[in-house]
Amino acid sequence: MEWNSTQHFWLIILCFVVAFIPRFVPLAFFRTRKIPKWFNEWMGYIPIALFTSLVVKDLCITSSYTLSVSGKAPELVAALIVFIIAYWTRSMALSVILGLAAVLVLAVFI
């Protein structure tokens, strides 16, 4: 089925709705209420768990949700390089740009 622009438009509107609700509801809920201390402590572990999950998905989960790293050698090596660069420089721009450069170069050689 070939989509036309009107269908694309409605897709965007629907995606906006489902993307907006989970972002807005917690913000609106806690905007006017006192947040319990335990909740804040728990939330302190959210970023690390979320970003790790996302990286795992990018590096070793295929689009059909099986575990595979075949063909991912450049990404895996580059991930290690990014990790080291991020650790030593603490620079977001350097990490991303050098990481991209690394994966481009490695994709040619591996």
Binding site: L11, L14, W42, I46, A86, W88, V96, L100
Partner: protein, 266 residues
């Protein structure tokens, strides 16, 4: 660029622009890649701009593009989108304490342009820089949104004439996430939670065959981290000296951001 000596008379918008700059720079290649993908999936330039403004999340737009190219039905794209975006409930909750007392429309605007990257930058600033307000955070989000949208438009325009390896460019996003993980590695317990998350994320994504596995592994790992930390806090008087909770020293130092300043002054 006199970052070491902050000028007190520097206008806020310029200070915020400088804070947003690393994110803006990394958004350019990712945004262009995303624009190319959307173009390949059949989006025209106007729709690309619209989706960038309304669903401001690289992951979400990559998902739309890849599901359209495999001819997924509308409903399944929207459901997948919902599960992908569900994680923002967690990010929203975790950043909500800085938005207390803000108006309804401010919250709406903030929510629309909240995503992984703007969250990471803003959370870092809000939790370490006392002068950094929610208003500044919103401005950072808008800078990122503008750069992202322009980049996707460029990608959409050059899409037909350029052939680049998109899986490679997608790595820019992965690199950004790795950077954020490194910035969060503040104690041995956090490192252990990372390792645990790797196992849980693989297990649940294979089991659930969807990005919902991401949500479950994130919830579970963060719960375990929180419980272990509370347990240590309640069982050891000198918990700040505990091997698991002791904060790491920062190897390269951070002249601009003053990481963990509050936490390290005991």
């Amino acid at each position: 660029m006199t970052k070491q000596v902050p000028n007190p008379n520097e206008p806020r918008w310029l200070t915020n622009l400088k804070t947003a700059m690393p994110l803006n720079i990394s958004y350019v290649p990712i945004g262009i890649a995303c624009g190319i993908l959307l173009h390949a999936a059949g989006f025209n330039t106007l729709l690309t701009a619209l989706v960038s403004l309304m669903v401001f999340s690289g992951g979400a737009q990559f998902l739309i593009a890849s599901m359209l190219t495999i001819n997924s039905p509308l409903l399944s794209i929207v459901i997948m989108m919902f599960f992908l975006e569900l994680r923002y409930a967690l990010l929203g909750s975790s950043i909500s304490k800085y938005l207390q007392g803000k108006s309804f429309w401010f919250t709406v605007l903030f929510a629309v342009s909240l995503n992984d990257e703007t969250y990471a930058v803003n959370y870092l600033k809000l939790s370490t820089d006392k002068k950094f307000t929610a208003q500044d955070a919103l401005q950072i989000e808008h800078y990122a949104l503008i750069v992202w949208t322009i980049s996707t438009i460029i990608g959409s325009l050059v899409g037909s004439s350029l052939s680049i390896n998109l899986t490679v460019v997608h790595f820019a996003l992965t690199a950004l996430f790795i950077y954020m993980i490194v910035m969060q590695m503040k104690s041995l317990l956090k490192v252990l939670i990372i390792l645990l998350t790797i196992v849980l994320a693989i297990a649940f994504m294979l089991l659930m065959k969807s990005t919902l596995g991401l949500v479950v592994s994130t919830l579970l790992a963060s719960f375990i981290g929180f419980f272990v930390e509370s347990w240590i806090r309640s069982h050891y008087e000198k918990y700040k000296k505990n091997r698991l909770l002791r904060l790491f020293k920062n190897p390269a130092g951070t002249p601009e951001d003053k990481f963990d300043e509050e936490e390290e002054t005991e």
